[in-house]
Assembly symmetry: C2
Homo-oligomer: 341 residues x 2
DNA sequence: GATTTTTTGATTTACGTACATCAGAATTGG
DNA sequence: CCAATTCTGATGTACGTAAATCAAAAAATC
């Protein structure tokens, strides 16, 4: 049987009330007494029964998800997963709410965080916009005791407790190696379609991609990046244009959203040539394209896993508990047509 | 506020005791009364507070993991993950125990299951050996109300509640496509190293592998399977022999364990030729081989995820709760040297 | 209609923790 | 040494559910 507060009280030779004061860091305990109790806790290996504690407190974890107001299909999926989490709320003692902020707008994000600091939720998950002022307020909130995790897009160098997202540099590197290996000995040019070079994830993917390409696949030349702004129409235009203009293109890496446009362009312009294509994010469109061989591989991050992980980590941090690191690591999924879920 | 048993009692116009009798399917409630209570439960959307219930019951979930007594590094890792789960037991109200049975021995497995049926654990996770008599007793236990999940190796056609493992046919198909694409236009022969064709996982991987090879990569010929019995020494011998004998080998697929021997053979015999190699299971050895380019890709199943998933599913089934399907799906991880964890 | 059986109600205790109150003890300051 | 202050103990209630007991009511049986 695991020890209870009663056992601690008996072992430390104090009353239940004193144990309670120590456990919940309430005032009114002399230093020596507190040490006695803490020693007993350590010796007996006492672990607070979180379920019972939450029951007694009537606690619910109020969590806030801050998301950019961009309507690409990845964010759409992320939203859907949060709604799923909200449906599970009663069973998980959570009370989840989302706040939309304009995308790429550090000031807006900062002001939302300011407001939250007054409201005192139990935890905050945010798709970070990488800016010094955001880092500053995140650090301030963390120091003030708020559990904070970044979601999908990290805030490196900040004090955030956890990052629930993939390593985008590794994703870019993986894309490069896959593309390089799939193309084998062929020489030629690679078109890269990104959303915007202002977005950190995209910059990082490109960085990883170019470095592996340069190191290991010198026969492949990367063309200037096409910035499709995650918009299918623009993506279509840019890719179609590049393909008609340049007959030397033998591979495409799409590291952002707007793949619907990419796929259309490929079907129009590339039926006759063997193009190797790698794209990010598994959606209905990319899945179909993978199955009909328009795309050769899809790199994906599981939004459901990211949301569930963020919730678990925030709850654990709110209770001062440890997380299972391996469980919270978001993997880079590589999908070929054979291992689709 | 979510409704409690008190609210149900008030709404149904019965006493707390009656609600309890209905909720815990105790006798002594007239049919009409039971219906009244059930209606109230539905109308108010009552969900039992599992944490409070477990507290009241003093419940711990006694779970049994049945594992084959084979000491390859995957099973070793699986064991380690179970030990981790045991360490978490106090916080998770679980009481986990493992039972080793001789590998590939249906009779032994059946007798262990027979015994467990008397002991009445809350749930059983088992690495299944695929045999009719095993299926029969699993079905009997499921019908008797035991939650049962298969782990790593499934028992198709049985009534087991869940399978915590990868789709091995998809794994084989994925391996074939990766190998085929990596080899590009080259023609040649492929060596396949398996543990034993008596193991279902291995048979399925091979099945997936050969079918994609036949369909899509006709220039690649699969040589007769080398059965290394998951033993590094035997694997080394078989692969070294095959490589010296056959100069036409340009690719290797290792779908079982014993990769240490494979890697040694590759380093001895294949330094001069460019061989493309795909192996299963990420271990210290395969990881090193991936990093030094001896192996080109590793397919992996995350034993930690499998164990945690099995525990979650068994607990949920024991309580008659739903599981989050997407969370319990075990993915086939594809590791290149760039996305290693 | 009396008797037996079944069904229901009322009440209590328990699980492990949180939190509040009040009295009493120990410590400190003057 | 007394008063003021700081600590500690004892006790009770609460959270939502389980489970047991015993009495009372209702239904079924004869």
């Amino acid at each position: 049987m695991r020890p209870t507060v009663h056992d601690i009280a008996a072992a430390a030779g104090v009353s239940l009330a004193t144990v309670d004061r120590v456990l919940n860091q309430r005032p009114g305990v002399r230093h020596v007494t507190r040490e006695k109790v803490e020693a007993a806790i350590r010796e007996l290996g006492y672990i607070r029964d979180v379920a019972a504690a939450n029951l007694a407190k009537g606690r619910t974890y109020s969590l806030v998800f801050i998301l950019p107001a961009s309507d690409n299909s990845f964010m759409y999926g992320l939203n859907a997963e949060i709604r799923q989490a909200i449906l599970r709320s009663p069973a998980e003692r959570t009370d989840i709410r989302t706040i939309e902020v304009p995308a790429f707008d550090p000031a807006a994000l900062v002001s939302v965080l300011e407001e939250l600091s007054r409201e005192k939720p139990c935890g905050i998950a945010m798709v970070a916009t990488d800016a010094p002022e955001v880092r500053a307020i995140v650090d301030r909130l963390v120091r003030a005791g708020f559990p904070i995790v970044t979601l999908v897009s990290d805030l490196t160098g900040s004090l955030r407790h956890h990052y629930a997202g993939v390593d985008n540099i590794a994703a870019g590197r993986t894309a490069a190696r896959l593309l390089g290996r799939f193309l084998g000995p062929r020489k030629g040019e690679i078109a890269v379609l990104a959303g915007s070079m202002l977005v950190r994830d995209h910059r990082e993917r490109l960085e990883g991609f170019t470095s592996v390409m340069a190191e290991e696949f010198p026969d492949l030349t990367i063309l200037p990046v096409l910035e499709g702004r995650d918009d299918p129409e623009i993506a279509h235009m840019l890719v179609a244009d590049a393909l008609s203009r340049n007959a030397g293109i033998i591979g495409v890496y799409s590291l952002g959203a707007g793949n619907r446009g990419l796929i259309r362009a490929l079907k129009e312009k590339a039926v006759d040539r063997t193009l190797t294509v790698i794209a990010h994010e598994l959606t209905a469109h990319t899945r179909a394209a993978l199955l009909d061989h328009t795309i050769d591989a899809i790199l994906n991050q599981d939004a459901g896993h990211e949301v569930r992980s963020a919730v678990r980590v925030l709850k654990a941090k709110a209770d001062g508990l440890a997380v299972i690191e391996a469980q919270e690591r978001i993997r880079l999924d590589i999908f070929l047509k054979d291992n689709l879920p």
